[in-house]
């Protein structure tokens, strides 16, 4: 792996294990996780950081795949001299169980039928995703991660790590997330799922090899993109600009820039994402409750890890009050915590865009954690 201005050229690796015990009962396997690593694991195996991706993310967090012009989704944060300094830390990122970017998911072939799983794929949870990640971490011989970090659904995985495997993490950075979805968050996910299932090509999930439920998935993604932005960021980015001076008065064309943006991202999403994965992963998010129905501070009792919680002011999909609920539980349980509500206009997308502020917070938080083990 070369290390120059960024994580350099990177390749995706694949890790396969026989089976995983699922939260909803039963064993499932074999399971493959797509993953990437950046930097080097030190002799003591004490410098490992696990990055956890959001709903539509993947294992390719940093660097360039050969021939690609676009780097990984958090390249601004991972690389030599960056927040997750690959000169110091060994960074791992894997695609979640249920995903469609190299890890086992509903589009994978069911060994029993030799056909894609479709809806025969088990109903997985955030904890199941984390259980698989733990096997990957184990395979590197890493006893304790220096830190786990992720935004949005990645933040839920952070909280799952923290409450399921507290002895395996020294630090945790949940960003723009919550310990359980609000009815509003479930509602948006449900509209996305209904859009997919209303597509005639969806066919109860059995569309592989035929026409894809492209309209439904694109619509789900368009709804998603609205919730990722803010009123202000949309006004700044698009205003009421029109794509063409001549008004079309047609419903199938995009008159406004904002419409063009949504169409573009909806259509693009279909090329890289599986509709059934969207159903399974959003369901996993909705079902997630790190408190397991009790007081969240009970789930945090006795945790030795240190937390850095980050929220963004204009984020209305994961509003800062949800991050403050995490902080509140930490305060009550005596967990050492830092919290920052970054003043940003970008809405939920801020966790991918406000990298300057995140770098200031995360680089020093990691430095402190690192100084305690080395």
């Amino acid at each position: 792996m070369t290390e120059s201005c960024c994580a350099g050229n990177v390749e995706t690796g694949y890790f396969t294990f026989d089976s995983v015990k699922l939260e909803n009962g039963g064993n499932f396997g074999p399971v493959t996780l797509a993953y990437e690593t950046y930097g080097r694991l030190n002799k003591e195996r004490s410098n490992a950081v696990l990055i956890l991706h959001a709903l539509s993310g993947d294992a390719h967090a940093a660097g360039f795949h050969k021939g690609d012009k676009k780097p990984g989704w958090w390249d601004a944060m991972i690389g030599p001299g960056k927040a997750f300094d690959t000169g110091k830390y060994f960074v791992i990122c894997s695609n979640v169980l249920g995903g469609c970017q190299g890890s086992t998911g509903p589009a994978s072939v069911n060994p029993a039928t030799r056909k894609p799983f479709g809806l025969d794929f088990p109903l997985i949870t955030i904890d199941d995703m984390v259980r698989c990640q733990k096997k990957l971490v184990d395979s590197f011989g890493i006893e304790r991660l220096l830190c786990v970090c992720g935004g949005s659904m990645g933040g839920m995985q952070v909280l799952s790590w923290l409450t399921r495997y507290p002895e395996r993490v020294r630090g945790a950075i949940p960003i723009a997330t919550c310990f359980k979805h609000s009815p509003q968050q479930i509602a948006f996910n449900e509209v996305g799922r209904q859009a997919i299932m209303a597509d005639p090509h969806w066919n109860e999930g059995k569309y592989y090899g035929g026409s894809l439920p492209a309209r439904g998935l694109a619509l789900a993604r368009m709804i998603g993109h609205i919730t990722y932005m803010s009123d202000v960021s949309m006004a700044k980015k698009f205003g009421r600009e029109r794509k063409d001076v001549a008004q079309t008065f047609a419903f199938n064309a995009a008159d406004f820039e904002v419409e063009g943006y949504l169409h573009y991202h909806g259509d693009n999403f279909v090329k890289r994402f599986d509709a059934n994965s969207y159903l399974y992963i959003t369901k996993a998010m909705d079902n997630f409750d790190a408190s397991r129905g009790k007081d969240f501070h009970d789930a945090l009792a006795g945790i030795k890890a240190r937390l850095l919680v980050v929220a963004f002011k204009s984020d209305w999909l994961y509003p800062s009050y949800q991050s403050k609920e995490i902080v509140k539980a930490c305060k009550f349980s005596g967990v050492e915590t830092s919290y920052c509500e970054v003043d940003s206009n970008y809405g939920h997308d801020a966790f991918l865009l406000e990298t300057r502020e995140e770098t200031r917070l995360i680089s020093h938080f990691l430095k402190k954690l690192h100084s305690e083990v080395s």
């Binding site: 902080v327 830092s338 920052c340 003043d343 502020e357 200031r360 020093h364 938080f365 402190k368």
Partner: protein
């Protein structure tokens, strides 16, 4: 950093705080005092601060800091969660002073309070001779831009504690250069108190 160039209130607080204790600094600013306590007394420190820029400074110093206001930040802690709660130069700025003090005495076994003495001779002179709201080194704000909400003197604070089940365990009166022993309510710029519940 040598202790000789410390701010006098920081030096006094450093003397008070027991090694290895836990400290909650309310309105910790950029974390100067808290970092000092962590380094010199190995305390387990937690700060609360409202200013976002100061949060980055605190994290850079390796401190635990929560972005929020003092008024709502205290109630989420358990009784006796900290050995010390520090309100240094922040008590006069909180909205609900009574509640913050009561809650500080609940959350901390002891509370350290430091505030500018409104009855200092400099303030008195400006008010008496010039008839203006005082602007002094310890009260550096004009009336129209001050973040302070409460203008209390050392005598005010003592009277306040005596009227309530609050024990004053230690007190220090700080002048521009040295401690003040003579008529502190007139000559001290800053009052510093260690208090606890009776």
């Amino acid at each position: 950093m040598g202790t000789d160039i410390l701010k006098s209130d920081h030096r006094k607080i450093l003397e008070i705080v027991a090694p290895g204790s836990s400290v909650l600094d309310l309105g910790c600013g950029s974390g100067e005092l808290l970092a000092l306590l962590v380094r010199e007394k190995k305390v387990r420190g937690q700060g609360i601060e409202i200013d976002e820029k100061a949060i980055y400074d605190c994290v850079e110093r390796g401190l635990n800091v929560l972005h929020g206001d003092i008024d709502t930040g205290l109630s989420e802690y358990r009784d006796g969660a900290f050995d010390y709660v520090i309100l240094n130069q922040s008590l006069q700025q909180v909205e609900h002073l009574e509640r913050v003090l009561t809650d500080s005495l609940r959350v901390g076994r002891k509370v350290i309070v430091g505030f500018p003495n409104f009855a200092h001779v400099g303030s008195r002179a400006q008010l008496f001779f010039r008839g203006i709201s005082p602007v002094t080194p310890s009260l550096p704000y004009t009336w129209y831009e001050t973040p302070n909400r409460h203008f209390l003197s050392i005598s005010d604070f003592i009277t306040y504690c005596n009227a309530r089940p609050i024990r004053i365990e230690k007190r220090a009166y700080l002048g521009a250069r040295a401690d003040v022993h003579f008529f502190p309510n007139v000559f001290a710029r800053t009052g510093l108190f260690l208090i606890s519940k009776k």
